[in-house]
Symmetry: C2
Subunit: 554 residues, 2 copies
């Protein structure tokens, strides 16, 4: 069979987050593979209660471990790098990244007791990494974390440009500015496929530069009479600098609160990305300064329950307390699903008398992703044979293809698990791979469909009722059935204890049950469960989850 070039998203295509893409080249089934990004996404109470982290399902890759030549990380956001520590052992290939990203990758591997040496620090274009049938170059690009990169992936079938997350920002404050000439250069000889970020396809206005918000923030901080607190993602080094400079301009010293905030500033300073950051003062020193001379830069822009922002909103953090006249700036956008947590903090701050300032329609925050007109600029520069939108929900990918079609580009909506053959001039679906999500639950990786989380959700919705019954050596009940409840009301309609009502119904059944039933565990359990559910339904109007434990003596 002839060799083919394939693209297979395992995460990030059909969702925002958990990016994991595979490229392959070779005879069908025997392709040499590279992985681009290995990210995570975050659980929520709605669908994944108790889960610690959500990882892409990489079963397909694990079965092809010997075919994997390299893992390329585009940037250090968790949804691109977060799974590297959890999965590296199962994939076993070298990890390529730019210095800042490599620094983060190494920490993650070290946390899992893995050798940091597997991470190879790469130079940017025109440096080329030879990796099986692929030649890969890192193309610096602007985004909301330093040293982001797109990838130029040269293959025997032509060139693929994989943008990674990006925005078009010529003055990004920290990190690489948008370099149109670079993208023109790598595109001039023809590009087979542009695999392109889709996050902001529904934002119709051109994106704005990080440099546009500094003055407004400085003005706001100058006008504020008390202490100012600002929160944003700790990894957004440019924003941290924007906020810190604004603080300095308004006569405020900067205090870093939250482990991630301190660690990110230290790391970025260490590797030389972050320069000109004002000197910071400790929380203790800040306590002795006039409030109007302090700006706290804190973690928790998404309303995370244990972050510095949440603790300040609840009263105090490291001795620092907010009060009437202070100002709290969310220099961030709330990710869908996090609204309730953010609003909770806003109201707690309101109770303290603190004025809350949100992004004010973009005045104090800009996105890190390319908006629709910026994506169109990328399309026009690259002029690919085919456009493959990635990093987006289905609606983003579909809209992105439409935008491409309107400009005459051939595109395809390729979601997680769709293997796309890029060999000929139009993309075509080569296969559907079973994919999904893997949950990190405590220290265990479980499949999303294993039923563990489904059972938790059921207990949360319905409560849990436990029936125990002892059967003696003669297959006769020893005593009556015993009921315990968890997450259910103590009493219902009859004003008697729920457990007693259910026990009575179960006892009646057991006393009348035939010997055949009492000897048959399955049948006995089924009957006890049915009666318990019916009895509870009559008493409290809902059917609980029921666990039946029959203990047989002898």
């Amino acid at each position: 069979m002839t060799d083919r070039l394939i693209y297979l998203p395992l995460g990030g295509a059909g969702e925002i987050g958990m990016n994991a893409y595979v490229y392959g080249y070779g005879a069908p089934g025997k392709e040499r593979l590279i992985v681009v990004d290995l990210g995570v996404t975050f659980p929520d109470m709605d669908g994944t209660p108790g889960v610690d982290l959500i990882l892409p399902d990489i079963a397909w890759l694990k079965e092809r471990k010997a075919q994997i030549d390299g893992i390329f990380i585009t940037h250090a956001h968790e949804d691109h790098i977060g799974a590297i520590g959890h999965y590296w052992e199962q994939l076993g290939a070298p990890v390529f990244a730019r210095p800042f990203t490599a620094n983060i990758a190494r920490r993650k591997l070290a946390e899992h007791g893995l050798p940091e040496s597997v991470v190879k620090v790469v130079d940017i274009y025109p440096h080329v990494i030879d990796c099986g049938p692929f030649q890969v170059s890192y193309l610096p690009i602007s985004h909301s974390i330093p040293e982001s990169a797109g990838l130029m992936i040269d293959t025997p079938q032509g060139r693929v440009l994989h943008t990674g997350d990006f925005k078009i920002d010529e003055t990004p404050v920290v990190g690489d500015p948008w370099n149109a000439a670079l993208w023109e250069e790598v595109s001039k000889d023809g590009v087979k496929a542009l695999v392109c970020d889709s996050t902001n396809i529904f934002s119709h206005a051109p994106g704005r530069s990080e440099a546009t918000i500094g003055d407004a923030i400085a003005e706001m901080m100058s006008e504020a009479s008390g202490m100012v607190v600002a929160t944003t993602f700790a990894s957004n080094i440019a924003r941290l600098k924007t906020l810190a400079i604004a603080a300095e301009k308004s006569g405020r010293s900067v205090v870093l609160l939250g482990r991630a905030m301190r660690r990110m500033v230290e790391a970025a300073t260490e590797v030389g990305i972050l320069t000109g950051f004002p000197s910071v003062v400790s929380p203790e020193d800040a306590l002795n300064m006039p409030r109007e001379n302090v700006m706290l830069l804190v973690t928790g822009s998404q309303g995370e329950r244990r972050a510095a922002s949440a603790q300040l909103a609840q009263g105090s953090y490291l001795g620092l307390k907010l009060k009437e006249g202070d100002t709290f700036l969310f220099s961030s956008k709330t990710i869908p699903g996090n609204e309730r947590g953010v609003i909770r903090i806003m109201n707690q701050l309101s109770e303290l008398g603190v004025d809350v300032v949100d992004d004010a329609g973009g005045k104090y925050h800009v996105s890190g992703h390319a908006n629709r007109p910026d994506l169109e600029i990328m399309h026009q520069i690259v002029k690919p044979e085919m456009l493959i939108p990635m990093h987006g929900e289905h609606r983003h990918l579909r809209e992105h293809v439409k935008v491409g079609n309107n400009a005459g580009l051939t595109g395809i909506v390729a979601v997680n698990g769709m293997m796309i053959d890029l060999t000929s001039t139009a993309p075509k679906v080569a296969d559907y791979i079973e994919t999904g999500r893997t949950y990190l639950d405590g220290s265990v990786q479980i499949g999303a469909l294993d039923g563990v989380v489904r059972n938790r959700i059921r207990m949360a919705l319905n409560g849990h009722l436990i029936v125990t019954l002892i059967i003696d050596e003669n297959d006769e009940p020893l005593g009556d059935p015993w009921v315990e409840i968890n997450g259910l009301p103590e009493t219902g309609r009859s004003n008697a204890a729920l457990v007693e009502v259910v026990e009575e119904d179960l006892t009646q059944f057991v006393n009348r049950a035939e010997a055949k039933t009492l000897r048959d565990d399955d049948k006995l359990e089924k009957e006890l469960r049915t009666i318990a559910r019916r009895s509870a339904q009559g008493e409290i109007g809902k059917k609980p989850e029921v666990t039946v434990i029959v203990s047989r003596l002898g």
Copy 2:
């Protein structure tokens, strides 16, 4: 003691939803009381899994049942009327409402087997309802449901104006237009307190009329090539009419889908509020019509899992299927917390090839609440001695007071449970009442702090492990401890079954336990729980909820 006039919010002040306000007049502790609105709010998986409905805690009112002279409902939204069926018996006073609202109230009472005759249909101002020391008049006002009203409450201490939910809309399509002259008239002799809607205090632009969106919607529907589906709140009769007229203009017949949608159109037509609504066709008839001649008007604008919109997004509803080229309009705003559900539907529609249109920044939707400039108009007309913001989270109430202060008004942030004495010229806090939330769970009303829901959340986060142990007549273990799990991984670190690992640890303990421990239920249970949690932690990295059941024979 001298008589006093009091205001006490039991719900709606410190949250959006669950409105319930009390006014009282008389000697302290012996006031005659009226209740304004008795609403509900809706549960979510985050904080109230499995709960069916959230009601205000009315313990304070129940203890004063004999002092209550009347219950006044301002309009028929669930967050103002939803608790009437659940609570009427506990309060026992006549219920006053305008005809449409009374119709809904009666249905709710009937569902609980309560006499519909307790609902008194009222005329609007200048009609006066004498109710204990109060004279109450209904002041028609525009909002997103027909026959909304503010209340003029005359007391021996002066006049209180309670706006209810409202917007300033002179062309509301259905229902009462904003009538500035009316509010000027009732204000001209002086108003002691304006108790005022705060929902949209953070919206800085003047509110727009319902009449402004019809043309844009008609244009969109004319341009759409396939079937059009539109969703909004079923109770927003004006919007239903706007959408239906737009459909008619674009050559489309209207199909009503979803029980609430059909019932609301029928009810509004019956009571004569809704006129000029185009005739509708049945879903069966629509199946035989060209797609471009059909508009489905459906329930489920908030992503509700079982509503018509969710079912259409999942494939079909009553035989109607959506496909490539169809258009789905959300003529609505997503309430914070519902984003995930709405986005899920949008992506399912995208998978079907359906184009999703959201409110497009206000083009296809207007709010039912007064924005900040509209609230300022109300303040200026009424010129009250004191401004008491209601219906809002803490941040809304606080901002509303600030806006009032800037215009020279005295205001107070009064949240649920704060009893405000309005007798003198400035409001002052008279008392703090214990309030909270009551959950309707199945058929049982449980207190929010009873621990039932807390236990459900714990099981959802941590899983549930059950230990059973039988102790014989001699206080010795009969067999080994037995473990069952629910919502926990089957295997952990050692690759043995989790239940076996825990059972082994428990067995070791039981075999070595002293007779004293085995005789002491509390001690034995505590030890077994501790060991089970520690054992699970070692194996799976998380500590489950544990229920221990010790059965003693004889």
